[in-house]
Symmetry: C2
Subunit: 167 residues, 2 copies
DNA sequence: TATTGTTATACTCTATAACTATA
DNA sequence: TATAGTTATAGAGTATAACAATA
């Protein structure tokens, strides 16, 4: 993950207060960096790393988007999208073609090679998730996934709202 | 949070597969970035941001550490620790004094001002955590904290093991 | 005049190495 | 010779602005 996962920090060794065993910030930092670490390996041979993964996921279903709409979907700047797609196209994981209805825009498509690679990465990622939760029994793991997903959805809503306010 | 939180990405808009509602990677990304967003505000007026917070927490209890041991404790490079402490000392949140037993080393101490500021930030951070979990009832929130903390602890152990292997 | 995509430039952060002073 | 701390330099990554083509 050359890009956003390049940071080396693992952040903090111990929870702020040993007694306060449920320091949420600390737990989120640790889990997030642990996931990042295992996920980095899964996307290591993807040119562009984690970002490339997000792009491929976004391309895997639905209509071929323009570079700009793709950039917005994965929250990247359109200028880095150019570099990223250059790289992905050089590795034949995506292709670009002019949009027949707007000659300024280019449609981005995932190739069969890209789909195959995406499937591999997804598989590897699923295994990595499993390792992360290895200590939890099935019920606890399911519960954690559900609760996290609930918090994530509300967080996402607030995030979008925040964006549209023009920040 | 001038440093590690300066990145703007929010990462991905939707879970990879709408049916797979419990995509752990997506949930972790969303929750982590949401927490980062709210936490950023809490530590905004701390010179050095999130890192300064971790440093102050590490200094708040126990013996005054050397810069190097402090750096290791919060997983920072000793060179950035120099800059960070310069900044914190300029704002009188910490002080440095020579270690009487090793004149190469300097002991880092948190000041009363530093403690006061740390208390403020902790308070603000607790409120931010509350907002993040606002949609969960008390039981669910407690459960999430517990499960996350369990995963975090095992992740931390693996992380240390990984480090000591010399990576 | 606004928008899509590209390119070039500047800036920030991190990592590496060199330097000092001690041990 | 090795270690604690500092400083300087180089590199990676991001953001900003300028540009060409089209709407």
């Amino acid at each position: 993950m050359s890009a956003s996962m390049s940071e080396k920090e693992k952040q903090s060794g111990e929870p702020a207060d040993p007694a306060l065993d449920t320091d949420l910030g600390w737990a989120i930092r640790m889990v997030s960096s642990a996931f990042r670490r295992v996920a980095t390996e899964s996307v290591a041979d993807l040119p562009g790393g984690a970002r490339a993964y997000l792009v491929l996921v976004a391309l895997a279903g639905g209509e071929p988007p323009s570079q700009l709409s793709l950039a917005r979907k994965v929250s990247l700047d359109r200028t880095v999208m150019t570099y990223l797609l250059d790289d992905l196209e050089a590795h034949e994981l995506v292709t670009r073609r002019p949009d027949p209805r707007d000659r300024r825009a280019r449609q981005v498509l995932i190739t069969d090679t890209g789909r195959a690679r995406l499937a591999q990465v997804r598989h590897s990622l699923a295994a990595a998730e499993g390792r992360l939760l290895a200590d939890l029994d099935a019920d606890d793991a399911a519960q954690l996934r559900t609760l996290l997903a609930r918090v994530a959805r509300t967080a996402q809503r607030e995030s979008s709202a925040h964006d549209e306010a023009g920040c």
